[in-house]
Amino acid sequence: MPEIFINGKSVQAERDQSVLQAALANGFYIPYFCWHPKLSVAGNCRICCVQVEGRSWVEISCNMPVTEGLRVLTDSDVVKAYRKSIMQLVTLNHPVDCGICDKAGECTLQDYHYKYNGEPSMSRDPKVHATKFHPLSERIVLDNERCIVCSRCVRFTREISKSNALGITQRGDASLVRAAEDGALDADPYSDNIVDLCPVGALLSRSFLYKSRVWYLKPTPSVCPGCARGCAVHIWHRKPEWKLNALDAGQNTRIERVTPLDNPQVNGPWICNKGRDLAQIFERPRAVQAMLKGKPVELDAAIGAARRLIDGAKHPVAMVSSWGSNEELDAFKRALGGQFASYVKRDWAPQPGERLDDDFLIRADKNPNSAAARALFPRQDDGAAALDADIDLILVWGEGFDFARLPARARVIFLNAYLQPENGHADVFIPISIQTERHGHYTNFEGVVSAFEPCFARKPTVADSETLFAEIAATAVART
């Protein structure tokens, strides 16, 4: 453990650290654009410069190995002046169109400008213009004028996603980030991470483009249900204090975007593109009305009807959702596990064209909580085999069940969150809440438990499964 001195204070550094890493780990902030903890050192932005004591010049700290007794200054006048010059150079041809830039509010360049420069450009010459809205892929547009050529995105596709989809063409101040070949970035299922990586507003997500200013949004920690990896994510939605009353009130309950939440045990700072598109899963038309054979009823009436069906059944079977949280699965086991022959159901199968699995994040099992469900209910439904003819009641919890497999005389209790034609055919249909409306935990395929928080309020006509099972059971017990 070499001892180094940052601004005169002694710091214990790791042997393989750079000065930048040692400084950040010990509470000294050094600005950086191109450096990233998960990417190789490019050393091209030059803003992480520090001064070694006794030298009159600056050197970059991201590529400076720590050596015993090294003394660096992160805030000397030389360093400050040089940082200022780098800010002048970086913003020389940058359009400074923060007013219409999606990154404004969380932009490194913007923050550093106020922190380390704060002065208008010294240049009186026209800015160099470059391509706006270059379509890098179906999902991402690139604004070359905003780009500061830090090469983070290029290094990401080479070192992390390994698609080698991006490169830099031209040279000098005409350098352009471009896809290696047509459609190269489309084929990268992790491409949207470069939008987060971009320290400026050059790489823009089409799905979030001009949707909202980030300061109106709030991130809620959640877990991506897209596969058994269970990546930690932030679901961004409008802050309650900025609730829209006029205009489109639907924006108040909309998922604006999804970003990774760094969990080193599971996903690190990355997620796949499917995780970015959680709105496509959660914002499908919702079922909000309890029904008996398609006839709308109050929620309580439906719960009562379900209880009566359970009481009267001789061979009841339950298809347990692999999208249920640990708490819900526990609640089901405690309340109804004794009365049902329970099978774990595969709610989601891989979609056509979806990447099945790889050696990075994506898993073949497209359900978030299969691990916890299987631990509680060892029997698994294969999704195809015919069911026993003597089954007289089936409780289907969640999506993905093929109702054609039902024995002719079986009655159906269906708990589902989304509008589906089968809802109306069930003897009892109870609408349930979705992940963005409740607390809970998922256990991923490696046994790591991750928590998710509610983003929006649950509608009163929708049941919360965690309490629903207990309600059904409590009344059932009371009658026996």
């Binding site: 030059r46 190995p65 000098g172 101040d173």
Partner: protein
């Protein structure tokens, strides 16, 4: 009068570059001596004793560069000759490649022997057509006569020589960018540490030397390092190929011994300034070295000591003479257009700074200069001084601040009067 010749020792004819004539001049005898009588360490020791400095521009001692490579460390080493002679004003390596390609090959083989190199490379400038064909033919001759490949000259020593043609980038003449380019990647310079002699080509210890530097090895080994050190001045051992261009009557490549009086060189050897004009300035070693005025240059000897004392350096040996009547504003515009065009765009100060410098100088030349422009040119040069990954930012800064220091009045005139002090054409009738 120091006037030793070490490289230009034979009359150039239509066939003087061939193996037959090279052998007739005693070629490959030194290699045979090395392979039979010397150990690798002994070769390196002679090179260290010679005190030879790099001829590519930076002037780093070759022996010290070699000393970083550990022999018998269990990993492959590489040797690369830098023949990407891109520094404007420099065309001296071209002479070696065209007229003495076997001298380079023999020298590289001796260096490869000393550094335990199995694969050596020559990174040759893409625009060099004749030099490439001459070198390629020489390599074929060497392979055919058992001087390259397995079992060289009947010994156990084996070495292959690969010629790699560049694609015309100035930055690829920088050692690390050159290696990155050989690897097939975009020619971006690399950050140091690690040094190339620790992790270079394919992440292995690599020695990159200039063609002229390497070509001196044959002489160093044949006559001993001490004999080489006696040539030239105390701090600048050896001779130097100088390529002179610009407003002189006899431009071309000359070999001078270090310590040769500059005035004699330019007024006798090169035939004086075009049209008998006064000498306004001289760029002593490629455009990246600081310009000196005629009066400053006149008393100097051509050696590192004198030029460094005058605030410049021998650089790459690409000397440009500038006659009276040349507009220095236009000259700087030409230089900055070059640096802007050739900036690789990797690191911020150079990527943005070169374009900024170029736009400012364009504006001054167009008569739209502002009073603050000169300070701005200085400032951008300073921002590039020692702060970029490779030396190109510094080089452009030196060129800019060098010209501004010496000829500031011309810039002020141009800004104030919105036109150059000179009429834009330099009428220099060629004196015959």
């Amino acid at each position: 009068m120091p006037d030793t010749k070490l490289l230009m020792t034979f009359p150039v004819t239509a066939t003087s570059h061939t193996l037959v004539e090279y052998r007739a001049r005693g070629g490959y005898a030194t290699l045979a001596k090395v392979l039979t009588e010397m150990k690798a360490e002994e070769v390196a020791k002679e090179v260290m004793a010679s005190g030879i400095q790099g001829r590519g521009g930076a002037g780093f001692p070759m022996g010290r560069k070699w000393a970083v490579v550990h022999l018998n460390d269990g990993q492959p080493h590489y040797l690369c000759a830098n023949a990407d002679e891109g520094e404007p004003g420099t065309f001296k390596d071209r002479w070696i490649l065209e007229y003495a390609p076997h001298l380079l090959i023999e020298s590289m083989l001796i260096a490869a022997y000393a550094l335990q190199v199995r694969h050596a490379f020559v990174y040759i400038r893409g625009e060099f057509d004749q030099p490439y064909h001459r070198l390629a033919a020489a390599v074929e001759e060497a392979y055919a006569s058992g001087r390259l490949g397995e079992g060289i000259l009947g010994s156990e020593f084996a070495c292959d020589l690969v010629i790699y043609r560049g694609a015309g980038s100035y930055v690829c003449g920088e050692a690390s960018a050159l290696l990155t380019s050989i690897e097939g990647k975009r020619g971006y310079p690399r950050n140091r540490p690690p040094r190339l002699t620790v992790r270079g080509l394919y992440q292995r210890p690599t020695v990159v030397n200039n063609v002229e530097t390497l070509s001196n090895i044959v002489g160093i080994i044949a006559n001993g390092g001490a004999a080489f050190k006696k040539v030239g001045t105390e701090k600048s051992p050896g001779t130097r190929l100088i390529s002179i261009s610009g407003h002189v009557n006899r431009p071309g490549v000359y070999e001078i011994e270090y310590g040769y009086p500059w005035a004699k060189f330019i007024f006798d050897d090169c035939g004086g300034i075009l049209g008998g004009r006064e000498l306004k300035g001289i760029i002593p070693g490629g455009i990246s070295t600081k310009i000196l005025t005629g009066p400053e240059m006149k008393p100097l000897r051509l050696c590192n000591e004198d030029l460094e004392a005058a605030g410049s350096s021998m650089g790459s040996g690409g000397m440009v003479a500038i006659a009276d009547g040349t507009c220095m504003v236009r000259l700087l515009q030409v230089l900055l257009r070059f640096y802007h065009h050739e900036s690789c765009g990797q690191c911020t100060p150079c990527r943005e700074g070169m374009g900024w410098l170029h736009r400012i100088i364009d504006r001054i030349v167009a008569g739209e200069g502002r009073a603050e422009d000169i300070e701005r040119l200085y400032q951008i040069s300073k921002w590039n001084d020692g702060t970029t990954i490779c030396g190109m930012g510094d080089a452009a800064g030196y060129a800019t601040s060098g010209i501004l220091n010496k000829f500031r009045d011309e810039f002020e005139y141009c800004i104030e009067h919105k036109r150059s002090r000179f009429n834009g054409t330099l009428e220099c009738p060629r004196s015959s």
